[in-house]
């Protein structure tokens, strides 16, 4: 007779959460593999434009980054015009020469000629500041530049 009486109260068993850590660990490994530790905090707005004739930066060659754009929220005291950011502080075009020389001093001799300068400029910035950056780079003979963009339709930058 005990085989036929219902002992359970009729509750639905709770969801087994033993696999939840597995899912979270998978997400964690994804992020550990795909991402890079952020080097600099950006004090400027930096939405990159899109282009389709893009090439990946060669990771084996040294790269220096120059950021430019309007100061983001919280840093309005630096103005509303587009500014240059080198490493982690604002800079003027005249500081670019010193920046490039210090980057070159910290890398090996034979790699200096492979230095590529990646210009990460906000898509709403003016060409005035970009022209100044390019002029300063020409003065220090850092001629390999790369306009950082995302991959996409270039015609959507026109708005």
């Amino acid at each position: 007779m005990s085989k036929f009486t219902k002992k359970k109260g009729g509750e639905v068993p709770a969801v087994n959460t033993a696999s939840l850590p597995d899912i979270v660990f998978m997400l964690l490994f994804f992020f550990m593999v795909v991402t890079v530790m952020r080097e600099d905090d950006l004090y400027i707005a930096n939405v990159l434009p899109l282009a389709d004739q893009v090439e990946k930066l060669n990771k084996k060659h040294p790269v220096s980054y120059i950021y430019a754009g309007k100061p983001s929220r919280g840093y309005e005291k630096y103005g509303t015009e587009a500014r240059i950011q080198l490493n982690d502080k604002f800079a003027e075009p005249d500081d670019i020469a010193a920046f490039i020389n210090s980057e070159r001093a910290s890398m090996r001799e034979e790699l200096i000629s492979f230095l590529t300068v990646a210009l990460k400029v906000d898509k709403n910035a003016n060409m005035g500041i970009v022209g100044d950056i390019k002029q300063e780079l020409r003065k220090v003979n850092a001629l390999k530049i790369n306009y950082s963009t995302g991959k996409g339709d270039a015609l959507s930058n026109v708005n």
Partner: protein, 201 residues
């Protein structure tokens, strides 16, 4: 009384640890955007001002402060720029170019190696439009170089590879073909359609 089964280790805190690590990585890392358009700036001393260049061999592209495009003194949309640049470069006006498929218009460029595209912008031009224009001009060169690569590639043993793929294969360590021959082919195509893009300031 039935014996209770041995209690399982409570795995509830595993999820907490994993969440903490995940949040740490989400906050401190970024997905790198390391793609872009490679350009070479011209060196500072430019003393070759005395080279006589015919006006028809120069393709003027002007961007004004309101992001309007003036190509060869006519207003143009950015989406038409690629076709116009290809038409200019591929023209082969004086007949010396045997790989050009253009219209051979006498008012346009003579030969791709004499054709110069001159890009001028103003300080107020927005960077996004400048990049779109650069993109379209580089695309025009790549379109012509790709076509040429597909024409002469098979004779040298590189079938079904356009110019962009050739460059990518040359840089790829896993490529199994003859890299010296590939480099010669790439250099030949670069000589046939040189990127003479001058940005006067």
């Amino acid at each position: 009384m039935a014996k209770r089964a041995a209690p399982e280790v409570n795995a509830g805190s595993m999820a907490d640890i994993a969440f903490l690590l995940l949040i740490f990585f989400l906050v401190t890392t970024t997905i790198p955007k390391d793609s872009g358009i490679n350009r070479l700036l011209p060196p500072m001393e430019d003393s070759d001002e005395d080279v006589i260049i015919k006006q028809k061999n120069i393709f003027t592209v002007l961007l004004n402060g309101k992001d309007q495009l003036l190509v060869e003194d006519e207003l143009m949309e950015v989406k038409d720029l690629r076709k116009a640049a290809v038409k200019f470069l591929d023209n082969g006006g004086d007949g010396s170019c045997n790989y050009c498929e253009g219209l051979k218009d006498a008012r346009s460029s003579d030969n791709p190696d004499k054709a110069i595209i001159s890009l001028k912008n103003e300080r107020e031009t927005s960077y996004g439009v400048y990049i779109s224009v650069q993109n379209e001009l580089v695309a025009a060169y790549n379109q012509l170089r790709n076509r040429r690569a597909l024409e002469i590639g098979p004779q040298r043993g590189f079938r079904n590879m356009n110019f962009v793929e050739m460059q990518r294969n040359y840089k790829d360590v896993k490529f199994s073909g003859n890299k010296t021959k590939l480099k010669e082919l790439i250099d030949q195509i670069k000589v046939e359609f040189p990127q003479k893009l001058s940005e006067v300031q």
